[in-house]
Symmetry: C2
Subunit: 355 residues, 2 copies
């Protein structure tokens, strides 16, 4: 029996997670899976209930689970509360407490949605990049940090810090994954300016020695931001630190034009993972039943593949998504003339049906 | 009399700077300017001569000048020398020693070159963004920094740090410049994670009170990286720190598809400045006479506008560039069928002629 914890979160989180659960139920039936589901509050919803965006009880359940399906968190309602209680901090603490150091963010162009991209079709058609972002280190968690008084004024400071072992373990994940793809890894740094990334470059280069079939290249982050716009198909796997990964993965996702389609996985050493859509909580459309549940459904597919080691189920879910896209079903965010606009629930039901 | 220091640097630097000087000579004649020119080595070229990418004599000349026209630096030849002697370090020391805290990077789409963009024409036509990047603070210069031993392994670390006054003075530059454009400033931070940018957001918001006509918005850096791809024309002026500015300005530049066209200015408190093309030293094509000198020529235009307060000369140089583009002249990097491919020198001569 596999234990999956559902963390719906805020904004559109509950709606989209509900559709992913519908698809999960359909997958259970079809493949005779043995899954127990539990649910817990996180983010602003948890703050409202317990005064904490990651209550102890939620963290305990997360530790006990084999995998976590996460909706989204945050919203204007919690933007002005005490810093440590904000929804984002709950997510950051969850990543850190569970040791979810490997963040996998695919940027894939769905041929059915090629028009949605702001890039020329020839630049992005067939795009399939995987960004491997380190998720529990770097400037996100580095100490010291804060705001201090100095010479009569305030000074803000944060520390970007990585140890060799942290760098090596994320590099290995990237090399392993590239081995299942096109054997190319581009490591992104700013080694010409920052010592922490100078060491990064050195360690990644050294780690590559165990992967003779992988072609490793290095790129400065400013150049990578350019190359993603100029010729994104030159990339297979990109590996980088927490902050650069945050920026580049969002840029890469937007190349596809349909961020409502993109899933992500955050894995620990044992491939236990948290799975969430790349998009945010979209408070402006929450509760209207028009959000796109496909990124969350694709996140469920990643969950099946990585944490439950059921690549067959993952493939079936992906095929079901492709099928409803082929049928012309579209939520509002990906709607174009000539297709059929459906609600969050209709989309979820259609994928479950296709499965 | 105005004193301009020429720093040709490495790679294609000397070739492109030579053409900018040709245009400067033509401008001198036409407008009866009184300019004295001097030249000094910088970057790898200076390292080869003096063992230092920024020799004391070069720095002295830079301090004495009213404005500096800079080519480009770096190349594989110097990639493996001692860290402190690398060409980039010379440029960073120059920026810091002269207090060039305000880096202005326009991303403008030339209608003649619209095809060069990898984005759809409707997304980028008429694009005109100005990125204002803080250039002498943040993680580029923050202490402590380095690589230390800890628990038997190496740990790399850097410090992102900004004081209120540093933040306020760059915000003011952005507001002033926006006032001469479309009165919109978007400040980019990662205030949901980094304390240093939380303070940034607060200080920029406060500084905006003196500019009631400016519409200020805030955006997280990951979202900004996305929005630049999705709908870049939503931006007028973007203001941000050193590292985010490095990344976003290169991304924005690439939206135009012709980075060989984009100039930049780095200004101190008194509008003394260093002017350089956005592109790098392109060692692969150095010495072939095929590099595009237009970004350097446009940098000369910025020099006229900001440091010499000769907006009229700047306008004339820009008009001359537009004219040669209209005539169909193109260097190899912007060549398309139906236009005329010219050398670096032919391009420079044509602009000088048009002037
Ligand atoms: C919400 C925020 C803290 C988070 C991050 O920066 O990691 C988000 O942008 C992401 O990429 O998952
Ligand atoms: C060469 C390098 C140090 C420099 C920087 O990062 O500032 C460059 O990328 C730039 O943007 O001018």
């Amino acid at each position: 029996m596999s234990h999956i914890l559902i963390l719906p979160g805020d904004g559109i989180g509950p709606e989209i997670v509900q559709e992913a659960v519908r698809v999960l139920r359909a997958a259970e039936q079809r493949f005779g899976l043995d899954i127990s589901l539990d649910e817990a509050p996180v983010g602003g919803a948890a703050y409202d209930l317990h005064g904490d965006p990651l209550p102890e009880s939620t963290l305990d359940k997360a530790r006990a689970a084999d995998a976590i399906l996460f909706g989204s968190i945050g919203g204007p309602k919690w933007d002005t509360i005490e810093r440590d209680k904000r929804p984002e901090r709950g997510l950051l603490r969850l990543r850190s407490s569970l040791g979810l150091f490997a963040n996998l963010r695919p940027a894939i162009l769905f041929p059915q949605l090629a028009d949605a991209s702001s890039l020329k079709p020839e630049v992005v058609s067939g795009l399939d990049i995987l960004i491997v972002r380190e998720l529990t280190g770097g400037i996100y968690f580095g100490q010291p940090r804060g705001i201090r008084e100095e010479n009569g004024e305030r000074v803000g400071f944060n520390t970007d810090v990585y140890s060799e072992s942290e760098m090596r373990r994320i590099a290995k994940v990237a090399f392993e994954l590239a081995g299942q793809r096109n054997n190319k890894v581009c490591s992104v740094d700013k080694a010409n300016v920052l010592e922490v990334t100078e060491l990064w470059k050195e360690v990644v280069t050294d780690a590559a020695k165990d992967y003779p079939n992988i072609e490793l290249s290095h790129m400065y982050v400013d150049n990578a931001a350019m190359q993603l716009v100029r010729a994104p198909k030159q990339f297979d796997v990109i590996v980088t630190g927490n902050l650069f990964g945050d920026i580049l993965s969002d840029e890469a996702a937007m190349l596809t034009g349909s961020i409502g389609m993109l899933p992500s996985a955050s894995l620990d050493e044992n491939r236990k993972g948290l799975y969430e859509p790349c998009h945010g909580s979209a408070p402006d459309i929450a509760g209207q039943g028009i959000a796109n549940p496909l990124a969350t459904i694709m996140s469920l597919a990643m969950l099946m593949r990585y944490s439950l080691e059921r690549g067959d189920v993952a493939d079936a879910i992906q095929a079901a998504v492709e099928q409803v896209l082929d049928q012309g079903l579209r939520t509002a965010d990906i709607y174009t003339e000539g297709t059929r606009k459906v609600s969050t629930e209709e989309m979820g039901a259609a994928v479950a049906e296709a499965l």
